[in-house]
Amino acid sequence: MSQTQTIQLGTRTTGLWSKLKVTIARRTEGRGVALLSAVLIGVLLTEQTVFTAYSVTLSRIALVGLVALGLTVVILMGELDLSVASTLALAGVVTASIPDLGLGILAGLAVGVVVGLVNAFLVAVIGINSFIATLGMLFFLRGLALVISNEAPIKLNNVEAGIAFGQPLLGPITPRILVFILVFIGLQIFIARIRVGREFLAVGGNRQAARDAGIPVKRRIFTGFIISGVVAAGAGVMNTLERTAADPIAGSTVLLASFAAAIIGGNYLKGGRGSVVGTLIGAASLGIIQVALTLAAVQVPIQQIFIGLLLLVAVTTDPNNLRAVISSIRTLRTGRGKVVEPATSNRSTSS
């Protein structure tokens, strides 16, 4: 008994408030939430149209966020996928270059599977760092898209179907938004409740331990890359349908935007920490701010400056980072010891 108490040292949480604090402390989305609420406040004050025209905002979020969702599962495993944008373009080109729409869509998605397989093979079997492997794929796939499309946009064979696809099903819900929501729910459940997805966290958090515990790490890596590949391909197919044409150099803005969304959402690039919800929040922040700036007719260069500053603020306002700053500054100081800001009197949770 007495020993039990000794062992229990320091992990008693009693009282609703402290319990609540603990629950919050366990989440990883804090920064994303802060940014999103800040964005919402800012937008409410200046540009309500964003909300009156919420259907647009939604579809913009879906545009920015879909690829990011797929990317998140890979990031959770501590891997990266730089090839998503090229996958998106290639899938679109393939879809458009096949006369029969149904076949085209299937082929487009198949591209995603294949790309995922190749990426995973390079990473899990050959053992290349995913940052490099997918960088290679980034160039290769873009080139392939240009070759297939003969370096020019390909018009969809069945334009009407494409346009129909762009129409809302009910209310503001276009097929794209629907797919986005479904993918989000699907991945959220996958990561939170499904055993395989849950184990992604283990693969990213402590790979050796995962292996020792009998988790088939390689298989998990394959699953992850295939997911991100298929999601990216799906985005490419949907873009092609909605625009009734495939652009071989599409997605120029996708890659960095999706990384931004994932990281603002609190996903840790080295893996093992983060959530799909976080990515959604990050994507929402970016999407809303972009729509708002466009509606406010802000000159494009200034939009860039603004979004840039926003990102910078988002990544530098992590409390752990701030603690790091303060200590670094202390490290710099060689003079007499002053009393430090009490901001640090709450020990970092990561040990």
């Binding site: 390079l122 290769f140 990281i263 979004i307 980072n321 670094s328």
Partner: protein, 337 residues
Amino acid sequence: MGDPLTQVNALATSEAPKKEVSTGAKVLAWMADNGIFVLTAVLIAVAVIGVEGFASLQNIADVFHRAAPIGIVAVGMTFVVISGNYLDLSVVAQVATSAVILIAVSNEYGYVPAILAAMVAAAVFGIVNGVAVGYFKANAVIVTLSTTYIGLGLLRFFSGGSIFFGPYESPLASFGAGKLGPVPYSALVLVAMTVLLGLLLSRTNFGFTVRSFGVNERATRLGGTNTGLVIIGAFLVTAFSAMIAGFVLAAFSNTAVSSMSTGYDFRALAAIIVGGTSVFGGKGSVPRTLLGVVFVSVLTNVLVLLNISFGYQQMALGFLIATAVSIDALARRAGKK
């Protein structure tokens, strides 16, 4: 007590290094470290024999022209990569900024103010990136992504996207066109930068701390290092290299426009990686990066000489990165067994 290697290998935790290995594995290990040298040599040999006009002085100059600006960026960015911070996306903005500043300002006020202004811009880029990553411990990819947006935004806001061009006859233009034998001055700048930064990385305490930081940040700090300053240093080196690259580019084309350095971020990274510097930090060197640059430039040049379209060029580059690192990885694996 016995030979420490036995002990290591017995240590369940430390990823045991393999010293006593069969000769076959030794060869493979050698390949792993020097594969890029072999590949480059082979490529050049094949090109000399198989590709008409490759060996011509003029073409060698063209290869150098291809290699110079991207190479200068890459040797600088090697510092950021070795420090374990992935890459510096903002070189895209940095190169364009320095080029535009050099030409636009020098047209009005002459070179000295222009260069000073460019240096200020580079310093700002380096310090902002460095402080955000080094002191705020923010993710380098996102930090440099945001400074790219900010940089290009400011550049376009003030300069517009207009093309700036210097007078036909100017020191800058003649430098850009100047050659030493078949070697353009810009390539000499690249070599000079490689030597300079190579020494900085391998022979100075600053370079040492950059590498040591890439291997183990906390041990480096507890070893009495102001790690924040180390990172700022790494980003400053990158920023000033990008500035020089901007100068070289401006001199070569005698024009400057805010969109002129699109794609430099990942192209430079590709060269660094092909050269064999690890994106995990710690491992790598500046000369290796130069080698990677040479390889990529020669490859592109050969493909153009063969009149292969851009799409295939991209595929080739991608395929090459994958193969190069695959060989490396497989060789290492074999070396272990």
